[in-house]
Symmetry: C2
Subunit: 194 residues, 2 copies
């Protein structure tokens, strides 16, 4: 069974869009999704890249483009009033969830919280609610994300993505092949089926 390594940051709206499509895509391809958050700021820095919205006309365009994709997919979307948000703790919590087989449930819930429900996923209260919502012990999860072991896993995945050639989000790998962006999901599906 093939796997797509799905590297994302909750702060990336195009990663959210990709996340809304990947479960059905993986099911069609008989593949699995590895939810692997990375720190997009660190990826940009390592690659010599920058936030796309640093270019004013591009920023204005991207707002419209995001709405078009959401409508195209038929998924809820509202540009987060908390953007740019510190998503580090939420991303660490994916690893805590992963240890209980809940990486997908937690990741999808956190993406929706940020990009459909306009909730502040940087706040411990929201994180606790999201944790409870997928059946985690919220207090234990909030404690775990402050441990060196969990912090190291987020750093290690970020470093791995950079080493494998990621320069933006989402970065999806099927074996050695990198696919960048929500707009390359059809190529991801081909690679998983190939």
């Amino acid at each position: 069974m093939k796997t797509v390594d799905f590297f994302f940051d909750f702060s990336s709206p195009y990663s959210y869009l990709a996340a809304t499509q990947l479960p059905a895509l993986a099911a069609r391809a008989g593949a699995t999704i590895a939810y692997r958050p990375f720190v997009l700021f660190a990826v940009f820095k390592a690659a010599g890249n920058d936030m796309p919205a640093k270019i004013p006309t591009k920023g204005a365009y991207l707002f419209k483009d995001l709405d078009r994709w959401a409508r195209h997919y038929g998924v809820p979307f509202r540009f987060s009033s908390h953007f740019p948000s510190n998503t580090i703790k939420a991303m660490r919590m994916v690893h805590v969830a992963a240890d209980q087989g809940k990486a997908e449930a937690f990741s999808q819930a956190a993406f929706r919280a940020m990009w459909a429900e306009d909730r502040d996923i940087a706040s411990p209260e929201t994180l606790a609610e999201l944790a409870r919502g997928v059946g985690l012990d919220a207090e234990a999860a909030l404690a775990a994300i402050e441990t060196p072991a969990i912090k190291d896993r987020l750093r290690a995945d970020t470093d791995e993505a950079i080493t494998r050639g990621a320069f933006g989000a989402p970065a999806m790998f099927v074996g050695d092949e990198l696919f960048w962006g929500n707009d390359r999901l059809h190529f991801v599906e081909e690679a998983l089926k190939g």
Copy 2:
């Protein structure tokens, strides 16, 4: 009948990919294509943008991505050994061709020359061949591209695209709506049919 304003630079491989698809797309939508070359370097400069390949890992990725799209479309593609090429004269010649109802024929021929046949479209010899190939008087066309009137038209279209919000290529407009990139053709088609 709706029109898509197709702003492109022959130096842009993603513009070539879009050009391979637009005639059939326009036919399906019952729309027309306005071939409007612009000077991508000037667009980047005005927008505060830069060539995507300035980021090394992104440059490496884009080579693979271009090949995937060409295979996906079933069109010939070979990364130009003349890149980055001075495409100004070829783009001026689109205007000369337009005056004889041959903007599409010339644009498509020049795109193929650069991105499928690895020819040097900066050279007067190649331009003369391309002009003759679509039924233009090659000598007259080479003279015309040095006239202020033709030079001004390329500048004016470049300025117009910048004013309308373009920051990269291809930039396609349906009315006020901007669509950026070969990977947004499905949205262009929707807009033309809407």
